[in-house]
Symmetry: C2
Subunit: 252 residues, 2 copies
Amino acid sequence: MEYTVQKLGLLAGVSTRTLRYYDEIGLLTPARINSSGYRIYGEQEVNRLQQILFYRELGLSLERIRDIINDPGFDSTSALKEHRESLLNKRQQLDLLIETVEKSIAAHERRITMTDQEKFEGFKEKLIEDNEKSYGKEIREKYGDDAVNRSNDKLKKMTAQEHEELTHVTGRLYETLGEAYKTGDPAGELAQKAADLHKQWLCFYWDSYSKEAHGNLAQMYVDDERFRKHYDKDQPGTAEFLRDAIRIYISK
Amino acid sequence: MEYTVQKLGLLAGVSTRTLRYYDEIGLLTPARINSSGYRIYGEQEVNRLQQILFYRELGLSLERIRDIINDPGFDSTSALKEHRESLLNKRQQLDLLIETVEKSIAAHERRITMTDQEKFEGFKEKLIEDNEKSYGKEIREKYGDDAVNRSNDKLKKMTAQEHEELTHVTGRLYETLGEAYKTGDPAGELAQKAADLHKQWLCFYWDSYSKEAHGNLAQMYVDDERFRKHYDKDQPGTAEFLRDAIRIYISK
DNA sequence: TTTGACCTTCACGCAGCGTCAAGGTGTAAG
DNA sequence: CTTACACCTTGACGCTGCGTGAAGGTCAAA
């Protein structure tokens, strides 16, 4: 039996483009080319294609398949085992991802129901008002109305319970940080606790947490005048201390 | 705070190329361009980037992220739910794949140990001899030595038990097919049993099974003279009957 | 003024094909 | 014998999400 591209494609269930591509990359070359330039495949090529498709279904790259098939002495078992490892890794990551997505869905739904209930609207309105009084004007001048409105929106979406938690965490953070600063050791237990609280605090504002972003933010506390002033208010040098503590925190 | 590409990149943990790319596709445009053509980002852009990275970590495409972020009225919860579904699907497929790979590893290892043992070498040599006597010459003429040697290699790699099973299945296949043909109904119970046996038989030769390839092979039994003759030997029309039975078999 | 660290806009490359486009072949029917 | 029509060929671009140069302007410090 001899096959043209389409015949072989139909037999094996692949497109003609795929066969041409496999020829192009030297994965499956036709048995011969006829006088009109047509690709002609024979039995050997059918078998070879079967093997290729088998490995392809296992998710191996075409390059890897070529290695396995071209070299009969190739250790295909260990290649498959290696491949299995990478698949298991993939699954782990996927599981983690699914978990994250589910958490995120839960968070979204919580927010929406809270928005629906609007039970604490008055309470929150008051919070925003307070916020406006202390920083509103200054921030508006520097960043424009839009940024402020966005921030307010975020606050509005917070539930009463979340707000309570946040207040609690914030308080503990400053308290712990103050104590830690007095020890002078950013690697110490207190300082590390402060770094952890800072992370918790951060997670109220950020949808996602990454060590990298955490570290970068810590650096910004030092670089940016506004933030530095804020942290150095009581004890000068606290911003740098916090940065160092966070650096150590994220590195372990 | 204003950021150039690098500053923002450091803060968020992405490359400058990424930021330029996001600008290019309209996902994150800078707040303004300064007189030297530099991209300048502000607070709003930092927030927006945070959101983008959040969704990106969940595995959504940049296009989808743009949809979600650009339209504040967009139902991001259902978008996330949809995404979760696709992730779950992915995991199912991955699990299936891992299973297949593991089976395949087991099969490979079985073959290798058998090759090592070479216990049945004499037995298999005899089989190959028999095979050569009946069809060897003809096949060699038509397809060349190489194809025959490859086929022999395959046979050599079969274990004694596998061979016994194959003989058994083959016998049952022809028996059942003969009975089924007499009923004249390719959708009947007997015919479907024959199709299933044919699949089992096939799996001795093919590393992987697909309905499509099975169907194509069945058609080939009708189209190719050699195969047709073989099946029609006792009862003419059996090749077509088998093809029809297989078509029904794979369609359900 | 000279580094050196920034910034810019092209533009190719990656994997594995899908999808035209433009043109040659093979065969059966009118 | 022409004509249709289904097949074949070789380009070449497109998709995703950037990495990685290249070639050239900008800016602050020494």
